[in-house]
Symmetry: C2
Subunit: 405 residues, 2 copies
């Protein structure tokens, strides 16, 4: 095939960076194909299958021939079920008209950013944070203001930090709670203060609650419980993580009614709608039998966190405290290690057969000293991963100068 002049491709598209973890994953697959065993600690989705009641509802939808387009805003019954779920689980009154079903939280992010931002508008978000925020926003011509987050604020964008970071032209603030990659949970009082700042200055607060339900030791909440004036609050959520439905591609957004009307029109054009059998299946996601399964899984994630965290600390990784949510540990490399996290991830995969995500995927602030480990594998796999990482570090320590610790 003739060589393709890259100049013909749009610059804003070409600026979208590949995730480093994708290259590592490709390499991991090569190694596996050649017979090597790889411990996967990079995977950002539950290892559990979709709960049986949801699968059953999906099968029933296929049997009933429910395979045509739905309205762009989603099945009315699903919008109602989501609204009712907020009532049942969080005691919050949500009007189904404010719920828009989307192809994953991914689709919701695109709609919310599109409905609120003009090219050149500024958006404040944490560093590190979920990489797609930056890429989607960049594609839309938004300008990013990244606020460095570290253990001193529990990796949270505090109201003080937000205030200090504010620049003219700021039109939106993105907060994930629980957060990827840090697992940090932002409490309701802090969310209220963040919202007040945004509201006073005419910006939207966008809260990504895709890891809602996956919290440990702290209350499981939603920004919707603030029961604030809703004008500038957008809450994004998904069936992917807590509900174990990553591959089904169904999420949602709760926004102001007028914004939902515009997002509905955007969705008609960009997506037509989310997958129909998946929406039908998701109707079973709030059933008591499903909740029972999911709460068991939540307990298992907590046990895994509590097993992996001390083991990593013992190897010299820096972890300020047990993160309150999601299923990730964002660990600082041992101080003595003379490698950045990309080198570490690459060599760890090659030499020890462990895949994890280098911090560089999540931002720039000290990212070269951090890696993300997902506890989306069972004890056995976590233990084997820790064993291999320990051996790898021991090898590094014996060949490099290792100061007394």
């Amino acid at each position: 095939m003739a060589e393709y002049p890259a100049s013909r491709l749009a610059e804003r598209a070409c600026r979208v960076e590949p995730f480093h973890v994708m290259r590592l994953l490709g390499r991991a697959r090569e190694l596996e194909a050649s017979g090597r065993s790889i411990v996967h600690l990079e995977v950002g989705e539950p290892d559990f299958p979709t709960p049986e009641p949801i699968l059953a509802a999906g099968r029933a939808a296929l049997d009933a021939g429910l395979t045509h387009y739905t309205p762009a805003a989603g099945l009315p019954a699903l919008r109602q079920a989501i609204a009712a779920h907020y009532g049942q689980r969080h005691g919050v009154d949500v009007d189904p008209a404010r719920v828009l079903v989307t192809p994953g939280a991914s689709g919701a992010l695109q709609l919310v950013f599109s409905v609120r931002l003009e090219p050149g508008d500024r958006v404040i978000l944490g560093d590190p944070s979920y990489p797609c925020y930056r890429q989607i926003l960049g594609l839309m011509g938004a300008e990013l203001v990244a606020v460095p987050l570290g253990p001193e604020t529990g990796y949270r964008l505090t109201p003080e930090r937000l205030d200090a970071a504010w620049v003219p032209g700021t039109r939106a603030v993105v907060v994930a709670s629980p957060a990827n990659p840090t697992g940090a949970v932002t409490g309701l009082d802090e969310l209220r203060a963040l919202h007040a700042i945004c509201r006073a200055r005419g910006a939207a607060l966008i809260v990504d609650e895709i890891y809602r339900g996956l919290t440990y030791d702290v209350p499981d909440t939603t920004a919707l419980a603030l029961a604030l004036a809703v004008e500038d609050l957008y809450v994004i959520d998904s069936f992917s993580k807590y509900f174990g439905m990553t591959g089904w591609r169904v999420g949602w957004v709760v926004g102001p009614e007028e914004a939902v009307a515009v997002m509905d029109r955007l969705a008609q054009n960009l997506f037509i709608a989310a997958n129909t059998p998946a929406q039908q299946a998701a109707l079973a996601a709030f059933a008591p039998e499903t909740t029972a399964v999911l709460e068991q899984r939540r307990a298992i994630f907590q046990q895994r966190r509590d097993r992996l965290l001390p083991a990593l600390r013992a190897l010299g990784f820096g972890l300020s405290g047990a993160p309150d949510g999601a299923f990730y540990l964002y660990a600082r490399l041992p101080e003595w290690l003379e490698m950045d996290s990309m080198d570490f991830a690459t060599r760890l995969l090659e030499d020890a057969g462990v895949a994890l995500t280098p911090g560089q995927d999540f931002g720039t602030h000290e990212c070269d000293r951090h890696v993300r480990l997902a506890y989306t594998r069972d004890f056995e796999v976590l233990d084997e991963g820790v064993r291999r990482i320990g051996e790898f570090l021991a090898d590094c320590g014996s060949t490099k100068k290792k100061p007394q610790v």
Copy 2:
């Protein structure tokens, strides 16, 4: 709820127009809820259920727990199956690496437009055409050059028309074949000439083949059969229409390899991936048992076209010739009728209980004199629709001055 200041919503998002047919559909549902019978001739999807072999593959995927994320470019097996399908059906060699699976053709449109267009770039497309082109392009800041299409070119964007419409800054040309709403099929020779013009002037030719397979009397082809230098050719397709999988949300694009690499990164960020059980199900879409079902349905669509078209002509609608593909008739209102197509559609629904799509959804060129009727219903429904339209016209004719015809 407090009133929401619309000024806080992004202008480019608010500019996205609602489809008129959505308002009509909402009204149709109200009428149905109040007990009225409505004949639906507005529906842009096959009435048939998804073929059983595809459903069976979907069920098997659920049973096997295949519900996790797939790679953004799609299941490798599905990319291969699509490539092989071009070989089997059209004798065309397609490298699976050039196939990217997307959430419907909708997702493919977004990726292709994003990878080729900078804000301000010009895009040439037919008027009338599929409304989402205009809206997605508008959202991206592209400038549209709409070329009026009529019966004199068989509703096709001919090379002469394209040449005459060309303006500096044109970076893409969009052609659907078969087309929505006209059913027009652009033959390979004409596509070759269109591509030559685009290529010589550094623009991409984007061919939307979502109605491929649904052609009558003319050969079923693909622009990929041109076997041209592929640099500037993007072919968009979908499992929605011919394959009867609208609600499953799986489509694809075949593009130049370098563009596919960039679109893959865009897809990672915008979509993560298409629905997994749906991709698994789509693997059965090319099986001989499925093709047998689909070819029967194609014959049925042709019979319906051949039943509806003369009936509409007999009522005084203008239809230049039987369209070669898709499942739509784009009919000119009877000349004597003193109503634009929006009024016609609205009053026809209210007075006669027939829903169809006013031309205004598809552009501006004589759109107020046209309506789109979908023959996605069986004979009985089509006949009843024609009967009701006939009565409605007779009523109009008796109250308004009707010249001798």
